[in-house]
Symmetry: D2
Subunit: 285 residues, 4 copies
Amino acid sequence: MARAGLILKLSCPDQPGIVAKVASYVASHHGNLVEFAQFSDQLGKKFFARLEIHTADLDVDVEDFIEGFGTLGRSLRATWHFRRLPFKMRTAVLVTKTDHCLQEVLWRTELGEMPVEITSVIGNRETCRSAAERAGFDFRYVEMEGRREEGFREIRELLVEQKVELVVLARFMQILPDWFCEEFAGRVINIHHSFLPAFIGANPYKQAHERGVKFIGATCHYVTGELDAGPIIEQEVERVQHFHGPADLVRLGRSCERAALAKGIRYHVHDRTILDGHRAIVFPD
Amino acid sequence: MARAGLILKLSCPDQPGIVAKVASYVASHHGNLVEFAQFSDQLGKKFFARLEIHTADLDVDVEDFIEGFGTLGRSLRATWHFRRLPFKMRTAVLVTKTDHCLQEVLWRTELGEMPVEITSVIGNRETCRSAAERAGFDFRYVEMEGRREEGFREIRELLVEQKVELVVLARFMQILPDWFCEEFAGRVINIHHSFLPAFIGANPYKQAHERGVKFIGATCHYVTGELDAGPIIEQEVERVQHFHGPADLVRLGRSCERAALAKGIRYHVHDRTILDGHRAIVFPD
Amino acid sequence: MARAGLILKLSCPDQPGIVAKVASYVASHHGNLVEFAQFSDQLGKKFFARLEIHTADLDVDVEDFIEGFGTLGRSLRATWHFRRLPFKMRTAVLVTKTDHCLQEVLWRTELGEMPVEITSVIGNRETCRSAAERAGFDFRYVEMEGRREEGFREIRELLVEQKVELVVLARFMQILPDWFCEEFAGRVINIHHSFLPAFIGANPYKQAHERGVKFIGATCHYVTGELDAGPIIEQEVERVQHFHGPADLVRLGRSCERAALAKGIRYHVHDRTILDGHRAIVFPD
Amino acid sequence: MARAGLILKLSCPDQPGIVAKVASYVASHHGNLVEFAQFSDQLGKKFFARLEIHTADLDVDVEDFIEGFGTLGRSLRATWHFRRLPFKMRTAVLVTKTDHCLQEVLWRTELGEMPVEITSVIGNRETCRSAAERAGFDFRYVEMEGRREEGFREIRELLVEQKVELVVLARFMQILPDWFCEEFAGRVINIHHSFLPAFIGANPYKQAHERGVKFIGATCHYVTGELDAGPIIEQEVERVQHFHGPADLVRLGRSCERAALAKGIRYHVHDRTILDGHRAIVFPD
C-alpha cells in the first residue's frame, strides 16, 4: 500500500493490441504490473483501463517513464493520467446542516482508509462547525443567503488557493452554478439521497414514501450542469416496508448515503473511475 | 397450512380500541388467532389488519361467524374481507413472447407453493403455447394485432366465464384498456422490468444501461389506469457494473422479475396485501 | 415520538384469546394502541408481543395501569415488562483498540437516533480515550493485563454505581467471565465480526478469506456464557470477491459491523427484542 | 456471442511481465483480445487470468495458435487451458427428489442462457423423471439403495460413455465416493442449501432456524473428497426473520439455491473460474 508506484488510467478507441502495447511498455522498463483492470466496450467501441504499477525496479526515472509513455498514448489516440503513489488527494468538503456524511468522510480519513487530505470543511450554515473543528479540521463559513453567486466565487477562490483536487458535496443543499460545474468538471462528487434516477428533485424520501417503494437508496455521482444527472459512481439500497414513514426512510437512508459516498470517494481518489460521457466506468476494490 | 380457517383483511379509520374489538369478537366465538398483523398509519390516520384464524373450535358456523362480524365492521366504518382456508385462487396468466415469468408461476403452482389454480394461459402470440401445454395447462391464443379492443373483450369474456379471481401479467406486452383496469381493479398484477419509478416506459434495461445505474430491479405492482404507477407489492434488485451491457441486464433482470412476481402473487393470494390509494400495505411472510 | 406512552413486552405460553385479553385491558382504560406486534410460535407453542401504547387519555394513573395489568399477566403465566416513554437507556460502551463501532454508537446517540445515555466509555486500552473525550463522553481505563478478574470486578462496580442498564461491547477484545454474563444476562450486546455461526473464534476475516466465501458479515448478539453463541439480534452482509484480501475484508466488514451493531442496539433500547432461549424475537422498525 | 473465438484460462507463479507476454503473443498473431480479466494474488504470489480472444483475423490456424502458446506457457511454468467458441459443455444433472434446481438448469439451458448440452438427467429416485422427460431430456434411474458403490460405478460408466464434461449435483442427496471425486475433480458442481461454512451437514435450514440467523443462503461449490468444503463458486443470501419457520426457510432458500447454482454453472461453463487450492478465483459477468 505504501509501496512506491504509479496508477495509470487510460481510455481510447478500441482496437486490437492495446493491452499488449501498454503492458509491454511497462514490462520493457521493468515496471511490475500488480493490477490491470480493463474494459473493452463492445457497444461504444472504446477501451478503458486502470493499471497499478510497482516502480521499485524501473530501469528509468519515474518522470522519464511517464514522459516516455506519451508516444504510445498518442499513437492510441488515448486520454491518460498517471498518479504517483503514495499520495493524498487534497479535498474540500461542502456541507449545509446535516453532518452524517461529513462525519463519515472525516472518520474514514482519520482512519487512513482513504488517501485524502481535508483542506477545509466549507458550510453555508454554521451547523457543522463543531463537528469539523472537534475533529481538528478547518471550518469556513460562507454566507449564501441572497448572495449565492458571490458565495460560490468565495468558495472557488478558497479551492484554488488551497489547491483542492476534489470537492465533496456532503449533503450540501445548494445547486452549483454552471460555471462552477465546468471549472471543476470531473472533480465534484455529490451524494444524492435517492436511488437515482428515481425521485429526482426535492424531498426524495417523502416521494419514496408516497410511491410505496420497497427499497430506498442513495446515489454518489459526479456533478454536471444537469441536476442529478451526472455519471453515477456508486449506489446503495435498503429494503423498507409500508410501516416506514418518511422519518424512518430518512433514518435508514442515512446509512445508504454514508456507505455510497464513502465508496464513491474511495473509488475516485484511488483512480478507480473513468468518465465515459453520461456514465462512469468503475473498477471497484 | 391445510387446517380449516379464515383470513380476515380489514381497513378502517384509526381510533382507539380496534384491536381489542376485533380480537375480542374472534375470541368470543372461540376462534384461535394464529396471526394478527396490523398497521396503524399515524400519518394517514388509518388502520389496517390481517388476521389468520383457526376455526376448528368455533362455537358457531363459519358462515354465521362471518355474518356476525358485520355489525362490528360497520361500527368501525371498515372495509373487510373474509377468505376461507384452504382455498385456491382461480388465476389467469397473460403472456406475449418471453416465458420466464410464466415458467416461474407454473412451477411454483405445481410445487404447491402458492394456492393458485391456473384457469388458462392466454397469449397474444403463440410463443408460450408449448411451455403451457407441456406443463399441462390450457393455452388460449387471442389475436390482438389490429384488433386490440376486440382482443381484450375476448379475454374479458374468458375471465368471466372461467370465474377468474386474479389476472397475472407475466411479461404481457399490451397496455390494458381503462375499462379493463376498472373492471378488474385490485385483481390484476403486473411485473415491470425495472426498479420503478425509475425507467418508466419502453426498454427499461436499455435506459438503465445508458444511465449507468449500479442496481437493476423489477417491480411487481397492481395495475391501474395510469401506466406503471399502480401500488407496488414487491421489488427485487441486483447489483450490476459498467461491463454489463443491455443484454446482460436483461439476463440478470430476469431473476429479479421472477422473484418479485412470485412473491407478489404469493402475498396477494394469501391476502397479505391491502390497497391504500397509491400504495399497498404488505404483510410479508 | 416524544409523546407520553408505554411499551409493553410480553411472552407467555400460546393459547386462544391472548390478543383480545391484552388489547381489551388497554382499551378498557382508554389506552391507545399505536403498535401491536405479535408472534405466535406454532412450533414452540409460545406467544410474544410488543405493544406501544399512547397514554394521554388513560382513565387511571400510569402506575395504576401497570399494576393492574399484573392480574391479567399472571393469569396468562406471562413474563412481561413495561417501559415508560420517553426514556433514555443508561448505556456503557466497552472498547479495546478499534474505534469504528464506538464512533458509530456515539454519533447515533448524539444525533438522537437512539434513546441512549452514555454513562461512560470503558477501555482496557487507552486507544479510544480521545475519540470518547473529544465527543464529550467520560472515558475510564481499566487495566486487564494480568488482572482480568479484578478488571471485570472494577467494571462491574462502575456499572452498578452508574446504574447502567445496557452494556455494549463495541469490539471489546476480552472474553467475559461467566459470573459477569450471568449478572448482566440479556443486557450485554456484542458485535461479532463474522456472519455467525460461520467463523467462530479468532480472526474471522482471515478465516473467511481462506475459505473463499462470497459474502462477509457481522453479527450483533446478546452475550451468554457460551462464546459467540448468544441470541442473534441483527446481521449484516456484504458481497466480496477473490481479489479482496484479508485487509479488504476488514475494511468492508467495518461497515457491516457498524450497521449491525447500530440496529441491534436500536432494537434493544426500543424494546423490540424478546429473548426466547437461544433465539431472539425481533420486531424491527 | 456466436463469434468464433477462444477462451484462455491461465495460472502461474506471479512475476513481472506476464500480462505483456501473454497479450503480446495474442497480438502478434492478430488475435483480438475482447476481455482480459486478471488477478495477481499478492499473498499467494500467484497470477491468474482469463482471456477472451476473437480469432477472425488470426494469421495462423487456431490449432497452430494454441500449440504455439505452449512455449510461452511452459516458460511461465503456467497451467493453462484453451476453449474454442462457440461450444456447449456436455453436462449431466444428478438429482434425487426435489426438482427446483433441476428445473432451473433445464430452463436456463433451453433459453440458451448457458452453453450447456444436457446429456442426461440421472436420478437415484424416479421422482424427477417426469420433469426431465416433459422437457425433452433423457432420464436415467440408478438404484442406490443398498448398492451405493455399484450405483456410482454405473453413473461413472454413463458419464464416460456420454463424454460428460460437467456433473451438476442438483440436490443429489448422496455423498460421492472418494474415487469419484478424484476422477472428476474440478468437474463436479454441487449446490448446498446453506450459507457455508455455516450449517455444514444435515438439515441446514432446521439448524438455521434454531440458531436464529437473520440471513439464510445457498452455496454453489466444487465437490472434493472433504464434505461441503470444496472451493466456493457462488453464494446467495436472503434476509429472514423470527417468524420464518423451518418450512419458510426451505421455501425462501429454494430461490437462493436456484440463483447460486445457475450462476455457478454459468461461471464454470464460460471458464470464468480457476481453482486455487481451497478457493476458486471467479471472474463474474
